[in-house]
Every structure is written in C-alpha cells, then in structure tokens.
C-alpha cells in the first residue's frame, strides 16, 4: 500500500473538486432528461454514480497531461476540462461538435484540454495511452498520461500487453480502472475468478497497484496525487482500481434494475453511497462549502448547461458534402 499524504483539507481544492464532481453529475442528468426527445441520436453511456473517479483523478492533472478513455467517457472529458458545448453539440450530431458530427458521443476529443480521445472499443485506447506517454517522453516532453477504462477492459489481452510495456519502459502512465461490477449486463463473477481482485492481476505485472473506494472523491484525489507524483518523478506507471457503480442502464438514459441482471436492492445499497451526497455531507460538516455555496455552484452549472444545450440545438448539421471529408489527411 502506498504512503499517501494525509487527507486533503484545503478548502479551495475541495471546492474545486465538488464543482467538478457535481458538474459531471448534472451534465449526465441533463443528457438523461433530454435524450427521450430523440434528438441525440447516438448511444450514450452515462457516468452517473461513478463521477468521483473522474473528478478526483483529473483534478491532479495539468493541462498538458493527457487523458484517454472508452465508451463511458463523459466524466473524464468534462473533468479534464473538455468543452461542454462541443460535447453536447457532438451528441446532437452538429457541425459544432468536437468531431463535427463524425464521431458522436462515443468519440469525444478536446486537444486543447489534453483529452486525447475516446473510442468505444473496449480496451482499445489503453495501449495508445502508453504509446502516447512513450512518444511524449521521446520528444522530451513532460506529461503524465491517464488511461480510464472499466473492469471489463482488464479482460482484454491488449490491457496486459499495455501494462507490461508501461512497466518495461517505466512510463508515466496511470491506469485507472472503474470497477462497476458489470460489462453491459454481465456480472463480474462469470467473467473473472472469485479468488482474486482486479488490482491483483495488474500487480502480477510488477506494477504498483492499489484498490480503493471509487465513491470517495477526496480519497480518489489523494491516491491519484500519489500516482501522479510517482509518474512525474520517473518512478513508472501505477494501476488504480476504484470500486464504484453505474446507476442507470448500460447505454441510454433510463434505469434498468427491473430487467433482471441485478437487483433493486443492490442498486439501492450503492445509491446510498452516492459520491455527490457523501461529499456534500463532508463539506457541510467541515463547513468548507455551505448549503448556499452549493446552490450557487449548481446554479452556475445550470446556466452553463442551459447555454451549452441551446448552443448545441441551435447549431447547424454538417452539410451533405462533408460526408467523406477527412477520410485521408492531406
């Protein structure tokens, strides 16, 4: 187990973390609200319930650091500073979207924010993140690269190939696994043996590997800080497994505890561990943010969201003649 600094209590940091956390929640809830209008005509994988990982990890990164992700990337994108209007416009398929409509919700990108790309093939960006770290180092650049993925990605061979290489080259990569117990509707116990944890498999490769609570925003933040420090100090890669839970259906805006792959009771138990409510209780108890402060933060996000949604909906669709553009780079 790592020796990490005592739990963060700095008020400005906690406020920032809270805002980032709530913002991810509020954006995804807005998406869930708007989705039934059937104007976002692409698959959406919401992060609701899992926001603490996005907020806690990305708050430790600098702008020049890079993040890559998979299908469930909204939280990572937003917490790394990706542009909200361009993300929403992308979901609406508009020309102003972050890929101009070519990619949709599953292909977010914001190079200025250091969000290097997300794709929906499970595990696929993991070796890319490792390569990006290697390439950056070869070019003499100092960047930490975070690869976000779900626990199912650790079942893909490419995950192991990537971790081995990161260890071999001692690269400044942090592998962040959000273990939400499911791959679509398939529970962990029919995919991985019960006698070991995900973090154990990673550790076998010789990587520093820690399992932790993924709903504890400050805990995530502190652990990520340790991993980032190791990376910056040239001590090599780290694997972090965060236990958490997806509240809504695998893909789409609704709840699906009724269809039979998990129980309402399991969901409710995790609902109790809501990362937002938990952090709010702590903040209220410590007085770092009071109820009024929370309302203000939420109100500001609501305004930002209203504007972003309006922008997205008012944006034009790409014209027909752009259908094949960018098939090749000139």
């Amino acid at each position: 187990m790592p020796t990490i600094a005592p739990r963060t209590t700095d008020p400005a940091t906690l406020r920032r973390l809270y805002r980032d956390l709530v913002r991810v929640r509020m954006v995804d809830e807005r998406i869930a609200e708007l989705y039934p209008e059937q104007q976002m005509r692409c698959p959406v994988h919401l992060s609701i319930g899992q926001e603490a990982v996005s907020a806690g990890v990305c708050a430790r990164l600098e702008r020049q650091d890079w993040v890559m992700s998979g299908h469930r990337s909204h939280g990572h994108f937003l917490a790394k500073g990706g542009s909200l209007p361009s993300m929403l416009a992308e979901m609406y398929g508009r020309a102003t979207g972050c890929t101009g409509g070519k990619g949709g919700s599953m292909h977010l990108i914001d190079l200025e924010a250091g969000f290097l790309g997300a794709v929906p093939i499970v595990g696929s960006t993991i070796p890319m993140a490792v390569g990006a770290a290697w390439g950056a180092r070869s070019r003499g650049e100092s960047r930490v690269v975070v690869s976000f993925f779900g626990e199912a990605a650790t079942e893909e061979g490419v995950f192991h190939e990537a971790v081995n290489f990161a260890c071999l080259k001692k690269l400044p990569v942090i592998f962040v696994c959000e273990n939400n117990l499911f791959s679509v509707y398939t529970p962990l116990d029919v995919r991985q043996p019960g006698n070991r944890e995900v973090a154990d498999v990673a550790r076998g490769h010789g990587i520093e590997s820690v399992q932790a609570d993924g709903n504890d925003t400050v805990g995530v933040y502190d652990l990520a800080g340790w991993a980032v420090d190791r990376a910056r100090a040239g001590q090599g890669p780290t694997f972090l497994e965060f236990k958490t839970y997806r509240w809504r259906e695998h893909c789409g805006p609704y709840y699906d505890n009724d269809i039979g792959y998990r129980t309402e009771a399991e969901y409710l138990a995790w609902r109790e561990k809501c990362p937002v409510e938990r952090f709010e209780r702590d903040l209220l108890a410590s007085g770092v943010v009071d109820a009024q402060g929370m309302t203000e933060i939420r109100a500001a996000i609501t305004r930002e969201l209203d504007e972003a949604v309006a922008f997205a909906k008012a944006s034009p669709f790409p014209p027909d003649h752009e259908m094949a553009t960018f098939t090749y780079a000139e």
Binding site: G93, G101, E156, Y261
Partner: protein, 349 residues
Amino acid sequence: MSRDLKYFQAINEGTDLAMAADPRVQIMGLGVPDPKGIFGTTAGLQEKYGSERVSDLPTSENGMTGVAIGCALAGMRPIMTHHRLDFALLTMEQLVNQAAKWHYMFGGKMRMPLVIRMLVGRGWGQGPQHSQSLQSWFAHVPGLKVVMPTTPHDVKGMLIASIEDDNPVIFIEHRWLYNLSGPVPEGHYSVPLGSARIMRSGSDLTIVATSYMAVEALRAAEHLATHGVQAEVVDVRSLRPWDEATVLASVARTGRVIVTDTGWAAVGFSAEVVARIAEAGIPLKTPPRRVCLPDSPTPTTPALAAVYYPRAVDLEKVAAVMCGLDLPPQDRAVTIPLDVPDMTFTGPF
C-alpha cells in the same frame, strides 16, 4: 406449417432446434444469457440448456475464439456471438490463421464446426466503429464459409445448415433485418449454403444484392416496375461459396446488372461479382454498376449517415440511367428518419 416470425425470432428458433437435436451444439458470447439475449436471439436458451452449453464470456474476444476452436477440437459444435462485427476484428488471428486452416493444414485430420455470428450495426449513431460490414474480408479467405441471410425463412434455415456444417461459418446478420417479419416453417429445415435466391423475377435488369440491400433492392424493383422496368432481384445469401450459376444466368438473361452490397465497394464482394461476369464474357447492354457504401468510414451524425447509406432511390436512379428510363426526380428525404430501420426503433442501440 409456416407462420410469420420476425428475423430475430427465427434465429432464436433455429438455435433452439439445433441445440435440442444435438447435445454438442453450444452457444457462447458476451451477453448471450443476459436479459436482452443478443436482441432476443438467445432468449430463454440458458434456462433450457444450462449454463455449460449457453454461456456468457469474459470480454476477451480473441481468446474466447480460441476457446471456441478448442471446444470444436474436443468434439463440440460451438456458436459464438459478437454484438458487432467490429469487435470481431480482435479475433482475426484465431479465425483466419487458425479456424479457416485447421482442416487443410492438418491434412484433413481436424474438423472445425464453428459458427461465428456477427451483427452489422447501422443508424442511431453507430458510427465508424459499430457499423462495419466486412463480409468481403471473410469472403476472400479459403477455408471459411460466409453467409448473410436476408429473410426470416433463410436466417433460420441457414443457421441450422451452418451449425450442421463441419467448416467455420461466418454468419453475418444486419441489424436492420431484425424486426422484419416473414413466413418461417416450423421445425427443422435447412437452406443449403452456397445457393442464391431469386426474390423477384424481371427481364430488364438484374440487381444482385446482399443482406439488407436486398430489401432496398426489392423496394427499388417495385418502384421501377411502376415505370415499366422489370428488375430481377437476386439475394446472394451466401458469399463464400456463392452461387455464380444463378447470378450469371440472370445477368445473361437481362443484359444489365447492378451489384449492391452493405459494405464498401473497393476490393469487395461486389467487385468479385462484377469480375466474374466480365470473365464469363457475358454480353451486356450497358456496363455493370455497383451501389455500395461510399469510400469513407461511417459518419455518426444522422445528417451524414443519411447521405452515406445507399437506398432504394439510389438503386432506382442508377437503374433508370442503365435502362434509358426518364425517372421523375425523387426527393431523397423520406418521411421516416433515415437513421432507424422503422419507427418502432427509438435508440439507443
């Protein structure tokens, strides 16, 4: 006795019958026994046949293909599923180096009864990585069989034939066929792999179509008929081996041919069909044409997806030029949104 079933129901029934008939048949894939059951195609099977024969899998496509091959080596007859063909790109080593060649390279000592079901996505933002229709890759590889049934009748009969075949069969299902209904005989029957089917007869033009494009071809043919052009529609159904005889005979009769495929044109199955017609020296009244995907990845936004996918109207335009028909201009836009197969489809899959 025949009744109407939907395409996905026909798959389910075919699997069920094959499993009941032969205890060596097993089915595996991510989500096979889950509540959605691969869009209904595997629903109820685990309850009936148990979790050893109907099994969920880790998210390890390449390794699990190797596992399925191993099961076949041990005497089972596995069916493996992929929600999207795109995910199966992880498995090309096992499928093409291994499964396709074990019978040959071990001098006939091994058999490889293996069915790989791959779904082709389309619409509702499936985009570049959830919609690829790479049948042409598989059709290039000796040792594989490749089928793309279009109708509920054929999907059941060809699935049974594929399961009973001792070779690896790539079984490609287009997601937009899933809700189509059609007559499906009860009980066991099989549709031989390698035979095309003439869906509609006509004397002016042959449209050779694969999978969902056969549906668009039929629509086009009906519309063309109202203008006096009789198009023959040949549903290829099986791409390796493919029914050259039926296609060539039809083209020889009509003297005009459009080949339409759900995949890309370049170096694709459509090129093979055109090439065989040319090599056979069949005299044509006008050069052959292909109507396939444009040469780019799939765009996600519905605005561009609507332009990307060819439809009946595009076939009609090409046919009109070939037949010297002065077709009144048609609006490419239609009343239903262009990114769903029908109005019951409300996303997100």
